[in-house]
Symmetry: C2
């Protein structure tokens, strides 16, 4: 059976056995319990995470202490604070686990090594980054353009499994609505 990370990479670019061994050598496994942190505000996010199994969220608090969700991450998703990771400056956000989670991580240093030595992996992450950028652009369009009901429907259509795995109040925090509004949308 193929390693799940290899299956994931090969959705974009084929790699040989040797190449995959070389790639995997740059990653480390990590187990985290529910509520444990991957990234904390004020600290440098030095690792990018790939979710093997589990569910995580990135989020921040506004000045009134209200939680806003930036992104959820489940199996096969990449997550970190990309600003902190890329620029190696303190993070503005938190990432923690919504479920006990099994992860692979790559350090900033190892990712630089791997991408500079291996065009295929530069290409893989370039493509992933493009799709990440598209998702963020659509989030902005949606925040500026759509009603709460429309944002709810888009999220439900894209990620139906989220609604099974994530508490309602976090769905509300992602959509930027109150839990009461969410209950009405839910009907």
């Amino acid at each position: 059976m193929k390693h799940p990370l290899r299956e994931h990479i090969e959705e974009i670019i084929a790699v040989t056995d040797d190449e995959f061994d070389f790639i995997l050598g740059h990653f480390s496994p990590l187990q985290k319990r529910r509520h444990q942190f991957l990234v904390e505000e004020g600290k440098i996010a030095d690792k990018e995470y790939w979710v093997v199994k589990g569910c995580v969220k990135s989020y921040f608090f506004d000045e009134e202490g209200k939680e806003h969700i930036l992104q959820f991450g489940m199996e096969n998703w990449w997550i970190t604070d990309y600003e902190s990771f890329v620029t190696q400056t303190p993070s503005k956000i938190y990432i923690d686990c919504l479920e006990d989670s099994e992860l692979l991580y790559i350090t900033h240093e190892n990712r630089e090594k791997l991408t500079s030595q291996m065009h295929k992996m530069e290409r893989f992450w370039a493509k992933k980054s493009k799709f990440g950028r598209i998702a963020l652009q659509n989030r902005i369009l949606s925040l500026l353009k759509n009603s709460a009901k429309e944002r709810y429907n888009v999220l439900l259509a894209q990620y139906p499994q989220l609604f099974q795995r994530v508490p309602k109040k976090l769905i509300a925090a992602y959509l930027g609505v109150s839990r009461e509004t969410l209950s009405r949308l839910n009907d």
Copy 2:
């Protein structure tokens, strides 16, 4: 004197004369007058643009016909509808020129050719894409977290030249506030 695109690329990665000639061979020059379109809603954005001289904006209309600005672009900025460009599907946004503009563009096909043949350019755009993603993430954080006054101050600090070159009503459309609110922020 070095070509401005070469100077721009070499902020990230050094290239030889031959490499730069090869790169430049994938681009074409384009002159556009004020108000002319680079990208139109419903059409596929098949080109990525680099602004040699001038000023452009990407924007869309909400259901009430209100204009929202996604991004401005000035000298040395890259712009297209990345969702349409990457997935080759019809665009959801418009991009037009705020000033008479001089551009270089690369087609989707040429960009694929260039990046697959030349690791350095894959690396260049991967880095650019990372920074584009960071800008979008900060835009989301700012939309969810900050007051209009704070968003105004951030924009002014980052891009003071925008306030000289772009009409006030467009700054308001970027910040998501009315022109009246903007006048008060301006005081």
